[in-house]
């Protein structure tokens, strides 16, 4: 096991224990750029993840994963050569570098000059303790306590399942221009799942929280929420039905409704799709795409958020990027390749799932800035519609513009009031049309605390999303009646 780290990790400190030193980095980068390169980098990663699980009344399983490796990337224009290895011996890294460099053969590109420069980073996820310093003996009683509290909350609770997972991820980015940056990225996620029964009816519900935080993330309030909300959701689902089918006004509750932004516009803002012309937003920069009350951002700087990053996965500084300002499309999400293509700076959106994957422009924490309306005013404005509160997943077709999201829990709105609970319904729409149909924006922005993961080209990365209460004039609801 690696030595106990100090809270501040300087470049190379962590990977030194695996035999990675400046000389090795220089030699591997030199090999990677031997045929020339517009850009090249080495992405070292070491992740230790642990999870403990409770089911059937016992904390009876633990899982540990250790992942170690390096990815070598060589970029020529918009062409990428990529190779990785889990073996950090010099011989193996040089082999990966030779493989990645093949893309540059006959390209005429020059070999970049390596001038070493370490860089200080901001700290959007300060922690006191790494997870590797937290013993299982600390985690087990937490898990057991959540179970006991869930059973105590309602006698209709029949089963409780709990999982508490966390990870210490260390990354080291060495670029062909000599930039070296290192980042420690903690992650924790807890989920409580409850099965409840009322007579013959049985249903389940769950709630989860996630953060780039340490043990102190689990405040008394948060632990209480984790338990009470999972029980509430299971109980509510028992008597919930299916809404009517067809187009109707939809009110999205504050918080995880940010999934609408993620699917309806977020992916379409990723500049690789725009560079290739395959996004529906490819020719819309500077144009109005939503009503003036709509401002949408993608933010890497929220303290402790699951999607936050001190530095992106190709060494660029991160930021809060305004995508849509007062209804006008302002910026795409750029990695270095697309930034070069558009002649702008990277927005620090270059991300990868692990050292096994190359960089793509991705979202971090996507949310809509708050508007003027009180949530009750928004609900009160709907005669007959659907109120969506808890979401499971979403999907989008970037070019066609169609997107969908699945509502696990909601309510009908009748004459301006929330009535019958409903569940398990998919909503589908055409992104640009739905953005135009945003009629009211609430004053109650909430960043959802759940553990969202975004998938693209087979890569999953942690993201956050948020939303104030929002009314969409019309969406197609996949109801069952």
């Amino acid at each position: 096991m690696p030595a106990t780290p100090s809270p501040v990790v300087r470049p190379l400190d962590w990977f030194g224990q695996f035999g990675v030193d400046r000389d090795a980095i220089r030699r591997v980068l030199s090999e990677a750029t031997a045929h020339g390169a517009d850009d090249a980098d080495l992405y070292f990663e070491h992740t230790e993840s642990t999870s403990v699980g409770l089911s059937d009344g016992a904390v009876n399983r633990a899982h540990t994963t250790v992942d170690l490796g390096v990815g070598v990337r060589v970029v020529i224009g918009d062409q990428v050569g990529y190779a990785y290895t889990e073996d950090l011996s010099l011989e193996s890294m040089l082999r990966a570098a030779r493989t990645a460099s093949a893309i540059a053969r006959d390209s005429g590109a020059k070999q970049p000059q390596f001038v070493e420069a370490a860089r200080d980073l901001p700290d959007f996820y300060p922690v006191d303790r790494h997870w590797s310093e937290v013993d299982l003996s600390v985690r087990v009683p937490m898990v057991r306590d959540w179970e006991a509290r869930a059973f105590a909350q309602d006698d209709r609770v029949r089963k409780v399942r709990v999982n508490l997972g966390d990870a210490d991820k260390h990354v080291l980015l060495a670029r062909a221009d000599g930039t070296i940056v290192a980042d420690y990225r903690p992650m924790t996620r807890a989920v409580v799942g409850v099965t409840a029964a009322d007579g013959d009816l049985r249903e389940s519900g769950s709630y989860n929280v996630a953060s780039r935080g340490d043990l102190s993330y689990y405040t008394a309030d948060r632990q209480e929420r984790l338990v009470t909300r999972s029980v509430e959701r299971a109980l509510r689902a028992i008597h919930a039905g299916s809404p009517p089918a067809g187009e109707m006004p939809v009110v999205l509750a504050a918080g995880s409704s940010g999934i609408l932004l993620h699917e309806a516009i977020g992916h379409g803002m990723e500049a690789d799709f725009n560079r290739k012309g395959t996004s529906i937003y490819a020719d819309k920069l500077g144009k109005r795409i939503a009503p003036p009350q709509v401002t949408i951002v993608d933010d890497a700087t929220l303290p402790g958020a699951r999607g936050s990053l001190n530095v992106d996965d190709e060494g660029s500084a991160t930021e809060k990027t305004v995508l849509v300002e007062d209804g006008v499309l302002r910026s795409y999400l750029h990695d270095r390749i697309s930034a070069r293509h558009y002649g702008v700076d990277s927005t620090g959106s270059g991300r990868r799932e692990s050292f096994r994957h190359t960089v793509l422009p991705r979202m971090r924490a996507t949310y809509m800035e708050p508007g003027p309306h009180d949530p009750s005013e928004i609900i009160g404005s709907v005669k007959k519609g659907l109120y969506c509160e808890v979401f499971a997943n979403g999907a989008v077709q970037i070019g066609a513009g169609d997107f969908s999201f699945y509502v696990r829990h909601g309510r009908l709105i009748e004459d301006g009031k929330l009535t019958e609970p409903v569940k398990d319904v998919n909503l589908i729409g055409f992104g640009p049309k739905v953005l135009e149909a945003i009629e009211m924006v609430g004053n109650d922005l909430e960043i959802d605390e759940g553990g969202w993961t975004c998938g693209k080209d087979g890569q999953g990365v942690p993201v956050s999303q948020g939303m104030p209460t929002v009314k969409v004039g019309s969406l197609s609801v996949g109801g069952g009646r």
Binding site: T65, S137, A395, Y406
Partner: protein, 441 residues
Amino acid sequence: MQTPEQMLELAHQVVGRAKELGADEVAAMVSRGSHVTVQRRGGKVETATEATTRGLVVSVLRGDCYSSNSTSDLRPDALDSFLKRCVGATEYLEPDPYRRQPDIELCGRGVSVEQLDQDDPAWAEHTAEARAVQAEAIESRLVGRRSDIISCSSYVADGRSESVQVMSNGFVGVDAGAWFAAGGDMTLEEGDRRPESGAYYGARYLSDLPTPDAIADEIERRVAERLGSKAAPSGTYPMVLANRSAGRILGVLGGPLSGSSLHEHLSCLEGKLGERIGSSVFTLVDDPTIPRGLGSRPWDGDTLRAKPRTIVQNGVLEQYNINVYYGRKLGVEPTSGGRSNWVVPPGDVPTAELLAGLPKAILVTGFLGGNSNGSTGDFSFGIRGLLLEHGQVVGSLSEMNVTGSITDIFQRLVAVGDDPWPWSSVRSPTLIFDDVQFSGT
């Protein structure tokens, strides 16, 4: 770790060392693999990725306390620390005797290497030049095919993996297989929309992949179908589920069939063994023994011998998917956890003939998001599709959902086509259902 013998040696060492450290039962799987992907766009290689990988998965039971673990750091010192941690973790846990390894009599190879035929010798000869030619051939057949193309790309990939498993119950298994994939996508210009579609094919043998011409034809056909798409009015329609898309609806059965959801009493199929859950034309077989099958395997996740199993026979539920762990918890014999190849046997009547008999129907060609609830069986999915009249396409559909329940939908299965889709571990022909709820305008 260059040879299967070295991998076996490592797995044996891991089992031995974990036992020395106090484990009562140990299972170790060592794997290694290589894979290459090449993606082309705009007349050049856009991304080329190549890697060799390795890994170790270890599960241990000490005093009936269980931990499962994986690592890619196989340096000897790191490995020893890792094993100490794996065994040490059990100290804090409560016993779970259901985790004990299965009886060795049940374990082993259920189908011969020759019959599985998963390891194409052509893989070792497949060169970087051959991949480049293959990717270029697909791309060149897409470029210039139409005047409204915004972007098109081609993709080829292949790989081979080897794994060895050693368990303290005496099981020793060695498995290897290659795979190949090819495909591409196309985006068209159409006013406010940029319709896109693609086609991807996977196979165990390189020579089984479709030709570049066939791939390019299919990509163009699929994207052209998306032009002019819009929602149809909400209502009930006959649903024609395209063979390649059947996995999404069949997949809804996966959760409720599983031992874990039965154990949690969260399965809408609980207590339904021997009962009718579909019409008489619905039969579903899990068959891990299909030669060159993408889901084929010599043993299951518990190392139980692979064998074909009929899950639904003429509409009657015959078996669940119960692994060793949940079999013990439920007090029943395990069948097999998870799924291998899911096969819906084809019918006798040509699909085109079946479609010609439908005055109006929705052909579902793909899905967009959606989900299902295993305890109620309810599902709601976004769809892409075509409106058909007597088998002729009269419109392209988007912005629609299909909604139903898995406990009911297969009762509505009225006909099964003769065109099983071979490029997936779900081998289903086109399926035709009566009166399915769609929401649109």
